[in-house]
Subunit: 185 residues, 2 copies
């Protein structure tokens, strides 16, 4: 089963090779994403594909400004997971991934957030099939990052997907057993 194979092989990637990514591949992944269903078929999504090096750096710096504040406050098992996973406020992949896909959701349509994330689900499997890696990153302070991006006024930032060929040797995070997450009635 192809989707099971892709879903199982796919893992989050936070380090990328320098190798550039053909724009057509990323467009192909977005082409898959926009086939997703959406509330009342509003298709309340937009995708900014950022190749510009200065803009990627700007996104990184704005994101890190928000993360520095966030990391002062995060506690408990979330903090433990972050520390164990060696994740901190630094987001170099936003600057050094060959491309960023900025995922936007429209403000004035129903279920746009749900629809956008559903489309991101489609996109992750498509990227895996295309041999490309990513991480679905949502900045802790959205406003700071929105301010450096050309976002139309009726849209908001939902996620940033840095995209490239994996240079990340971290293994996939464990998943719970199926039997633990389903209940049959």
């Amino acid at each position: 089963m192809k989707t099971l194979e892709l879903a199982k092989s796919r893992k989050t990637v936070r380090q990328f090779k320098d190798t550039s990514v053909p724009l057509d591949l990323v467009k192909k992944a977005v082409e898959v994403a926009i086939e997703a269903p959406s509330g009342a078929n509003y298709q309340g999504w937009r995708f900014l594909i950022i190749e510009d090096q200065e803009l990627k750096k700007g996104v990184r710096l704005a994101s890190e400004d928000g993360e520095k504040e966030f990391y002062k406050k995060v506690l408990g098992d979330w903090r433990e997971w972050l520390d164990e996973s060696k994740i901190n406020w630094k987001k170099p992949y936003l600057e050094y991934a060959p491309l960023l896909v900025i995922v936007l959701a429209r403000n004035d349509v129903p279920y746009s957030s749900e629809s956008v994330w559903l489309a991101v689900g489609y996109m992750l499997l498509a990227l895996e099939e295309l041999g490309l890696g990513t991480v679905t990153y949502t900045p802790s302070d959205l406003k700071l990052v929105e301010d450096v991006l050309p976002i139309p006024s009726e849209y908001r930032l939902e996620a940033i997907l840095p995209i490239g060929y994996s240079d990340d040797d971290k293994s996939k995070e464990n998943r719970e057993n199926l039997e633990n997450v389903i209940q049959i009635i």
Copy 2:
């Protein structure tokens, strides 16, 4: 490209054949879903698979109670879309689909809603590959429906996926052209 093929062929299904659905197929689709990434790997999702006829009927009635109120209020182009699509407060598929998958999100973990919808994206492509149809239905009044379901206290209802073999001849909703939804910078 398999994901593109599945994404393009998949359309929303609201009418189902009587033919029963092997539980193993639905479990396979959930197996795909739970490979999705989630905020801090919390995997804040649970799936209730409802076969019980009385409970399906209860879900339908509770959902319709909420929809009746909602349909009194919805206006503008959302209402137009609903009328054109012949969608109203009646949700017979909740009673007559062979199975319902109730998708739950955990309340006390970060990004659980985003993660759950991402996993639903995985699940939709898996169901398409398995030859099964569904619609991602979110009740207008979640509380009414939560009250008839055995939902653990730390979870909330995000979506209901009625699942079965398609008996719906409505064609797929149009999608915008790729070039209209991307911007390259």
